[in-house]
Symmetry: C2
Subunit: 455 residues, 2 copies
């Protein structure tokens, strides 16, 4: 090897790299680059066909990639970044298995992220998401590069001059972020701090060192809640080495919260929440998504039908009992929905914590008793008025009371149970509440009627 010239080595690496990439042996390509000098990697990448340049670059470890990137000529850096947008490059990455991608791709260096994000529109950013390597619905996906960052040792005068020269950032400056030489986030200040300071003071002396930040892999809902909690207008996003790579602004958070809320509401309404816009979705897809929950309902109704079939004798003798089954089922369903709506919304907005479960279930049980007492009493009169049969009226009233208590307890308890099991309360609660209320409700009703009627 020592006798080879530098040129030979670069050619050799480039040829091997090209062969491995064409064979889609990304593992091999990644391994090949490890012992090679940074300068040689850079030269080898420059010599590759365009479609594989970006892939080879993404295979580098994070430390290597920043060094290689710095080594490249600015015009080559530019070409490389443009490759991230190329359709054929996207397809190569798209065809890797997600596992492979996660194993092969390190995070991008902060400098590259910034350069890349500045070139991409939000739509393009979404399209290049695979190459960026950030998971969907994370801070990495929603951050923007439109922030101002300064170094600690600048004086106020120098800082103002630098801000004036950075005319490409958007008009509204939320905060100014302070980074050290390794681009690590060290502080934050407002434009007002800058204006109020003396010209010869340094940024480091007036900045706030306690900065609240999120990571590139923080879930977007968590990002939104953090911004909301602190009343921020923007929050910095850092990578695994604390390097500033972007910011998330409050206007994006508003859209995220609206989208998450729609998902919550859809789930409560028995709709599968998709990321897509419903009004642009094919109607067959809409029906397919909705039918899932309705089939679950069908299965749980087998139990209800079985209970009724089992008790056919009493219904045959006193057909009047049938007239009140819809009322009992409707009321049970609604009382259950009222309790679960309060608990699920409370869990989602974090107004309710899991450790409060017992307290809240007790509250709901009492509310159910009160509701049941009011409704049950009225219903006895109402049912007697409709059917002039006091035994049936009593059976309906007593059953309604029991169903109200049952529904409010299961409506409040099941969301906590599902949350504790790591399941989504909004998605899981409705089928189980419906089953509990329908099956147990009808069972209670027919047995109470049996006792009162002496059958």
């Amino acid at each position: 090897m020592q006798s080879r010239s530098r040129q030979d080595l670069q050619d050799l690496v480039r040829e091997q790299l090209q062969v491995l990439l064409e064979q889609k042996n990304f593992q091999g390509a990644k391994a090949l680059l490890v012992p090679v000098q940074v300068a040689d990697i850079a030269a080898s990448i420059e010599g590759l066909p365009e479609a594989t340049q970006a892939i080879a670059f993404r295979l580098l470890s994070k430390e290597e990639s920043i060094e290689v990137f710095e080594y490249l000529d600015p015009s080559v850096q530019q070409t490389l970044l443009e490759d991230f947008k190329r359709q054929d490059v996207q397809e190569i990455v798209d065809n890797m298995s997600p596992d492979d991608r996660a194993r092969l791709f390190d995070e991008l260096p902060a400098k590259v992220v910034r350069r890349l994000l500045q070139q991409l529109s939000p739509e393009e950013r979404d399209a290049t998401a695979l190459l960026l390597g950030y998971a969907p619905n994370t801070a990495g996906r929603i951050m923007t590069p439109e922030y101002l960052s300064l170094k600690e040792n600048l004086t106020i005068t120098q800082a103002l001059a630098q801000i004036r020269s950075q005319a490409d950032v958007r008009e509204t400056i939320y905060y100014i972020y302070v980074t050290d030489d390794a681009r690590r986030l060290t502080g934050i200040l407002s434009l007002r701090d800058l204006i109020l300071a003396q010209p010869e003071e340094t940024i480091g002396s007036i900045m706030t060192r306690e900065v609240v930040f999120v990571n590139t892999n923080t879930d977007q809902e968590e990002v939104a809640r953090t911004i909301q909690h602190y009343d921020f207008v923007a929050i910095p996003v850092v990578d695994a080495e604390q390097r500033l790579v972007g910011i998330v602004t409050v206007d994006d958070v508003l859209d995220i919260l609206e989208q998450e809320t729609t998902e919550d509401i859809y789930k409560l309404g028995g709709l599968e929440a998709g990321g897509d816009n419903y009004f642009q979705t094919n109607l067959f897809t809409v029906a397919r998504k909705r039918v899932v929950w309705l089939f679950i309902l069908l299965i749980t109704n087998s139990a209800t039908a079985a209970v009724i079939t089992n008790q056919e004798d009493i219904l045959e003798k006193v057909v009047a009992l049938t007239a009140f089954i819809p009322l009992l089922i409707d009321t049970g369903g609604n009382v259950g929905a009222q309790s679960s709506t309060v608990v699920i919304r409370g869990l989602n907005t974090e107004d309710i914590r899991s450790h409060e479960a017992l307290n809240i279930i007790r509250r709901e049980a009492i509310a159910g008793i009160l509701l049941g007492a009011m409704l049950g009493t009225v219903v006895i009169v109402w049912a007697y008025f409709l059917q002039a049969n006091i035994s049936v009226a009593l059976a309906v009233g007593i059953s309604l009371f029991s169903i109200c208590v049952l529904a409010s307890v299961s409506g409040s308890a099941l969301p906590f149970l599902f949350r504790a099991m790591g399941l989504d309360p909004a998605l899981m609660s409705a089928p189980f509440i419906t089953t509990a209320v329908d099956v147990l409700g009808v069972l209670i009703y027919l047995n109470v009627a049996r006792m009162i009627l002496g059958l």
Copy 2:
């Protein structure tokens, strides 16, 4: 009158005013002040007992009140503003009828609003709401005085000096508002505009003249949607004369949207949405609020019970039919909820406009047909499996198909109907959908069964 000294006149006005206020004759007190000189009103007010000073001041017309306020000694201005917080003053105003209050109280002058808001915490602002005269849930109630305003003719150097001197405003400056001598909003600029401008330029020459603003009486949800639409971090609030009186910031908007969303979700869940925190509400109040919707359900169920009672003969002959009533009711209710959830959420987020109604109802009808076809087919097999009666199975399947179509059409159409009638779709739709689906569903079911069974 001419022979009286100024002192006598002031004493007379003050005495009469005091008598009228003690008699709670606010109308009379207001009328008394009209022909009196501003300086005399000021002196009369100063002479009143403290508890009535603020009331007398609030009875002045807007033009008078600003003149009277300017005439008062700064220490008296201060005392007057402090009176707004006094419990006994609050009680006097609280005891006026809302009509009276609206008729007697003009808007407060912009200057007084600013002074007042600066002294009040958000909690106190809420407590003094009656005296402020802004309706609940309007921009006037949620605005804050923590904004920076400058005059057009200032140079950049002067402006920066003025900003440095206003150290009492909060740290984050969103925008700088520009007002004329009458405090009317004329422009807006960012701190960045200020930093980028040449020192000798004037504010008027660099500001943006197209300012989006809201009025003190704009509904808070409308304020939130405006901020969200324009991606603002704050929006100025002006009074009826275009005078700047406050700003609403995006962090308040986040809280408002969350609160409005909770109300939407509660309504969809059949809960009356109250302003209060549910978890601090008395359980009797909780039960009372929930029971309203359940009583409506009881009334609509009378129709369902009547239909069943009317058709008792068929149920008596084929008791097996009863076993499927819960399934039909549950499915109808859920298909209706799915359609209405999508439409109501869409109307609330303005993703759906009223003129799209026909298009959307048609979409939902087709979705209902698809769902009905899938479910109906499966249900025929399922019902046959459960009861081994092909006639009953067919009746269940056909009815389920009809119910799916009925539920998706009424679920999507009723929200539009209620919106068009000026009613809240979220609150009104559920009872009517339940009724339509229950009554018509059972009617369809029993009649289809009658035909198929040849009874």
